[in-house]
């Protein structure tokens, strides 16, 4: 029995190790200065880089944060500080359901809501779709950490005559800030790897991003295009791009784990 379950555990972990191994062996040698700083060359020609996609990913994440963080954090505040039991159950349930909406469906909806009326694909549409996807994740994470703030903090602040909304903003949120940041980072890490919703919104662009109303590229989008192509040089760059994207995502996840471990230690 022990052996069987142990083998299963090995099977579970194996893909991570294999993926990592192949990305490093196929992609690492292509990571150089040009990869980060240059634009793609003409189709089928060797050289160039993914600079446009890397910058694009960060712009999209910034836009997503602008939408997802305020809505998610304030919604989390409502759940933890104001909502009645019944209401908060429904909102949490709704957030979990919303989290399960397939990313391609998000792409369709934002395409219909933003791209068609604006007559064009844009960085803005890409940022909006990622931002909306972040909302339920940030909201749930915020609610969870706010619950960990001891009630005594709130009582003490209110007893000093500080109004509730300032208590929430200045005491509760500040105490839980690290946890909220953690939640936001995890949500960003998750949407950083999204490709499907960007197909019909951000669209891709081989140049440097210059305007939020123009199409923009993103790492996952460019990895998909390059992986789908027959060109060896593009494959080489796609492996490198995948490695960079994976390192970014894993870096956020691991550092967050480090941060939260501190938190749990402090609590227990």
């Amino acid at each position: 029995m022990q052996a069987v379950t142990c083998i299963c555990a090995v099977l579970v972990v194996a893909p991570l190790i294999l993926v990592f191994y192949h990305l490093i062996s196929l992609g690492f040698s292509s990571i150089n200065w040009a990869f980060f700083t240059q634009l793609p060359r003409a189709v089928g020609e060797s050289g160039g880089g993914m600079g446009n996609a890397i910058v694009g990913t960060f712009i999209l994440l910034a836009l997503a944060a602008v939408i997802g963080v305020p809505v998610g954090v304030l919604g989390g505040v409502f759940l933890s500080e104001y909502a009645t039991v019944g209401v908060s159950w429904w909102v949490r349930f709704g957030a979990d359901i919303l989290n399960g909406v397939p990313s391609i469906v998000w792409g369709l909806v934002v395409c219909a809501l933003v791209v068609v009326p604006m007559h064009g694909y844009s960085a803005l549409a890409g940022g909006i779709v990622l931002g909306l996807m972040m909302i339920p994740m940030v909201m749930r994470a915020t609610e969870e950490v706010l619950h960990l703030v001891p009630g005594g903090y709130r009582e003490a602040s209110l007893a000093l005559g500080i109004s509730k909304w300032r208590t929430v903003l200045q005491i509760v949120i500040r105490t839980a800030l690290k946890g909220i940041v953690t939640g936001v980072l995890l949500a960003l890490a998750r949407v950083a790897g999204e490709t499907a919703p960007l197909l019909f919104t951000a669209f891709g662009n081989p140049h440097w991003a210059r305007s939020l109303t123009q199409p923009i590229s993103a790492l996952p989008l460019q990895i998909f295009d390059y992986a789908n192509s027959p060109y060896d040089d593009w494959h080489r760059q796609a492996w490198a791009g995948a490695l960079v994207l994976l390192l970014l995502v894993l870096f956020i996840n691991i550092s967050v784990r480090f941060l939260t471990r501190e938190r749990w230690r402090a609590k227990s």
Partner: protein, 327 residues
């Protein structure tokens, strides 16, 4: 169960009482602001449903329920039936569950009951990192590394041992429904495993002790006391994995072969609800074609909403909120 949790962790009731007098306007405004933000969840759900429905209306009017039951998807003649995509979605997800469920639950048992203590935490972290790998990377790796290996080594073995079954006959393309099912399994294993692990951990120690007291072995304790107690929660974990598998797009699009198919062979190329949207949406010419793709999206939304709601309800009623949400 849920109520006790919520009221204990909310601001203490006395504190919540209004009437401190000062800056009541600020308090009201802030509360309304946060309420608005929280309710954006419902606005978004309604908005998604409405937009898809609006886009799908022409196709719904034209085809009615036949859309779900007919298998001709023919953009040239403007005839659209989504059955092959529903079929591909169900079969690829079923394959994923078939592979993922035993492995995930066994791993969860290993992690909570059997593994040496020093190994548990690193394994859990590994599994959570696996869940963080973007789908496009798994698809890329799957297409260039996993599928060639399966095509060269695993599929011929399947064919020679189980080839008498209709599932393992027909030409082997490499990219196929089976390949997509396998990559889906890789993607849902971390979720099913970590939720199952939370479920097993929440089984009261008393259960185990009682079984030990009756002289049960470790495996018997696991089977009788832990697994049967946690059945419902584990089912919830599996359904949650199913919800993810049904809507997964990129990795599937890269591995499934993208050709509508209904038949016995798992070696055939297929198409799922999500992959057909990814393939055809930017280029669908005819407004009816676009509308049909919106209807495909609507079907996908409906299915995933129901499945996810079911999973959440199972998990909530099993364990209350002690089970952390998994994204």
């Amino acid at each position: 169960m849920n109520g006790a949790y919520a009221s204990a962790t909310r601001a203490t009731p006395g504190v919540n009482a209004r009437g401190a007098g000062t800056s009541r306007f600020g308090d009201r405004a802030f509360e309304w602001l946060t309420l608005l933000m929280a309710f954006s969840i419902f606005v978004l759900i309604v908005l998604i449903g409405y937009e898809l429905f609006r886009g799908a209306t022409p196709a719904i009017h034209k085809f009615g329920l036949r859309f779900l039951a007919t298998s001709t998807w023919d953009p040239v003649n403007g005839v659209f039936g989504a059955l092959p995509f529903i079929f591909g979605t169900i079969v690829s997800s079923a394959i994923a569950l078939l592979i993922a469920v035993p492995i995930s639950i066994a791993t969860a048992i290993y992690l909570t009951e059997l593994a040496p203590l020093w190994l548990r935490q690193p394994l859990v972290i590994f599994i959570e990192l696996l869940a963080a790998i973007p789908s496009v990377i798994l698809g890329f790796w799957g297409f260039y590394v996993m599928v060639p290996w399966l095509h060269a080594h695993a599929y011929p073995v399947l064919r020679s041992t189980l080839g008498f079954l209709p599932f393992f006959q027909g030409p082997d393309n490499g990219p196929s429904i089976l390949s997509a099912g396998i990559i889906l399994a890789v993607m849902i294993i971390p979720i099913v495993t970590s939720v199952s692990r939370e479920i097993l951990r929440s089984v009261p120690g008393l259960q185990r002790e009682a079984a030990y007291a009756l002289g049960a072995t470790r495996w018997e304790v696991t089977r009788i006391a832990v697994l049967s107690y946690a059945k419902r929660g584990l089912f919830g974990a599996v359904i949650l994995g199913l919800g993810r598998a049904l809507g997964e797009t990129m990795a599937v699009t890269m591995l499934i072969g993208n050709a509508p198919y209904i038949g016995w062979s798992v070696f055939a190329a297929g198409q799922t609800l999500a992959s057909v949207i990814a393939n055809e949406f930017t280029e669908a010419m005819d407004p009816l074609h676009t509308s049909a793709l919106f209807e495909v999206g609507l079907v996908l939304l409906g299915v995933t909403l129901v499945v996810n709601a079911l999973a959440r309800l199972l998990l909530i009623t099993f364990a209350g909120p002690t089970v952390k949400p998994q994204h």
